[in-house]
Symmetry: C2
Subunit: 226 residues, 2 copies
């Protein structure tokens, strides 16, 4: 049975300060989301790709595919109000029984080694979340009341988050909670154990203008591993 | 009374994978640590600068100052085994009664607005720590046993961390603890309240090779505010 990769592109571009949703920003003259899908396709051209997009962007997606001759087969499905609802929509067309990876459209630089670690661990453990260490000090609380927290115990979560599809789909039937900022939180809330594995430091999420600068530099300097 | 800025450059370069300690790496053909000191000097040329360096790097520092015609007056003092011990050494030559800022030598892009916010808040509250929000999901624990943690309650800590010098020097008389990854943790352990203020997103810590790439791009693209 084919493994599925759900590419979640809910962004409407507000945080980047521009008109263009961030998943469509050009990196090295090529749309960000195509870089992302291509990373997975190069790892395994038999993945089943589902792209979750705001419905208002469907036409733009088609135009882009044509313009950039992007021909990797993808099923497109409409996103929802939050990331939770978008992923839930994407999962609605995922078959039971195989593994499913949920990946942010705006993380173009996932390493093949990370993809491999996640699928291998999820095959054995039912969940696999790639993480990187925290290099800065961290405080918890408000600006006025806060405390130091050990950074050695903290892990910055990346994607792809890979799960047993049957269990993840069932987990996504629980009611939405504002704390569900990723799939691991949903899977955990459904009572399952979360297993972490090593991500890759350049697997950054393009969220702020500063991230685009870094992304362009990463491409130009040959820093990337795949 | 003059306010003091302690620039902490304990690094021996291990994490960058090169021979050159990271504080001496060239950014735009100019040593990183000089960029950092210059940011403060341009904000206020009356700051009293103390630079904490491994003793083995004193000669290299002198050579660099000459080579790059770096003439901002700095007192140089030897670092210690950890960041805690280095800061403690630096504080040993800070006068009581004024404000003191502790700043990482490898954070060249501190904004003047951040410096101003920190000094203003510390003047009123005795402590001021610049922070930026966490944009990724975070998990707490080990790779096998961990839990989701609300990122809205977490703050990534930057420097300059500004304090009442008398109180900080006293705080640094408590015994070393491995959890003291910054000055706020020490000041807090001595029983004082920590006040947070807004940092600036480009005030990155140059720790990994990927950070140097971003730093170079920030300089080239005119992203910086000062």
């Amino acid at each position: 049975m084919k493994q599925t990769v759900v590419i979640v592109a809910g962004g409407i571009g507000a945080r980047m300060g521009g008109e263009l949703p961030k998943q469509f920003l050009l990196l090295n003259d090529y749309p960000l989301i195509f870089h992302t899908i291509r990373s997975f396709y190069r790892f395994n051209d038999q993945f089943n790709f589902i792209v979750v997009l705001p419905e208002s962007q469907f036409d733009y997606w088609k135009d882009l595919c044509k313009k950039y001759a992007f021909a990797i087969p993808c099923q497109i499905i409409a996103g929802g109000e939050t990331r939770f609802h978008s992923v839930k929509n994407g999962l609605s067309i995922v078959a039971d029984g195989a593994l499913v990876a949920i990946h942010d459209a705006v993380r173009p630089f996932v390493a093949h080694a990370t993809i491999q670690r996640c699928f291998e661990m999820a095959k054995e453990k039912k969940s696999a979340i790639p993480v990187v260490p925290v290099v800065n000090s961290v405080r918890q609380g408000t600006f006025l009341q806060n405390k130091s927290i050990s950074r050695a115990d903290l892990h910055i979560v990346q994607t792809p988050q890979v799960f047993d599809a049957t269990l993840l789909k069932k987990a996504y039937t629980i009611p939405y909670n504002v704390l569900f900022t990723d799939d691991a939180a949903v899977f955990e809330a459904a009572g399952h154990q979360i297993f972490l594995t090593e991500g890759n430091i350049e697997n950054i999420k393009i969220t702020l203008p500063i991230d685009i600068l870094l992304a362009e530099q990463l491409i130009k300097t040959g820093f990337l591993t795949n």
